[in-house]
Symmetry: C2
Subunit: 167 residues, 2 copies
Amino acid sequence: MYSYDSTTFRSELNQLGLRMTPQRETILEVFRELPKGKHLSAEDLYHHLQEVAPERKISLSTIYRSLKLMTHLGLLRELELAEGHKHYELNQPHPHHHHHLVCVRCNRTIEFKSDSVLKVSMKTSGREGFHLLDCQLTIHGVCVEALKRGWPSVPQEWSCPHAPVDE
Amino acid sequence: MYSYDSTTFRSELNQLGLRMTPQRETILEVFRELPKGKHLSAEDLYHHLQEVAPERKISLSTIYRSLKLMTHLGLLRELELAEGHKHYELNQPHPHHHHHLVCVRCNRTIEFKSDSVLKVSMKTSGREGFHLLDCQLTIHGVCVEALKRGWPSVPQEWSCPHAPVDE
DNA sequence: CGCTAATTGAGAACAATTAGCGATATTCGT
DNA sequence: ACGAATATCGCTAATTGTTCTCAATTAGCG
Ligand SMILES: [Mn+2]
Ligand SMILES: [Mn+2]
Ligand SMILES: [Zn+2]
Ligand SMILES: [Zn+2]
């Protein structure tokens, strides 16, 4: 389980002159309870709340604002996988930190860990004088099933951003 | 220099029932002549052509269509750095293949190479039965200059998507 | 409690990207 | 080299994801 609790969050906010709100608390909670390997977009989070806790519904504007805030504070990680919009997940430190392998045809995503990527990232950011916030190795590939259907393929067969994963 | 020439491009297109056009040839040429470390967005490419070769102007729609096509064929790489829209560059194989270190505060981008990342990517995609297309390690950090100005900072000081790099 | 400034929700506004369409140009077989 | 078939073009309008505006609300703090 991840240790970033609501109290820590609150004090980080206050230190910057920002405030803890029920909405921010709710969002942190949702991400902390999210099953391993699940990622949420702003829209996903919005609908998730309406379904599982309608009394805690949060407006889309606030969701976008909070996701951006929490990403800046390092609580969340912004993922740009192959679907045309951002997804978020908890930004977990080593040894929970991981990367993604994505099929560009069906968007299937597989998580994996790598110490050597972490090492490269620390070395590189250090050499350039950067304070390291996050590093993401994203591998783009074509899964076996998609390969069987031919690759490369004609435009009509490219997965559209919101196509259901159909395999 | 990169070896992917217009003839190879043409035959790959024809093999898929697609056609070579002056527009596609132009775009490939622009990317081949792009200085190392430069990345272009759709809009960048559009304006670049208007400036350096107005007689070869290409409509924005066609630019978007071509960038998508060429990315799917593996000619180009789509980069999601910290600026709110996609950028593209030639998808060069080893040993020109590289990764990016980005300052989340000012968007400064530094390229670097890493054999071990490549190795991890090949191993991982192989293990999962994926055909490897591209792998990108993106390191998010805060550069020295930005650190001096305080981090984390309050929302008003976050770089907005189109803010000029001001340092 | 009471002040002040941060935050919220609702909707309008925005920027990047895509879709539809009729006109044009490339391919390929003759 | 010619012509039919059809992919592609440029245009405009539509869509999508995200941000902004602003009045009402609320957290933090003495
Ligand atoms: Mn993940
Ligand atoms: Mn690059
Ligand atoms: Zn797949
Ligand atoms: Zn910077």
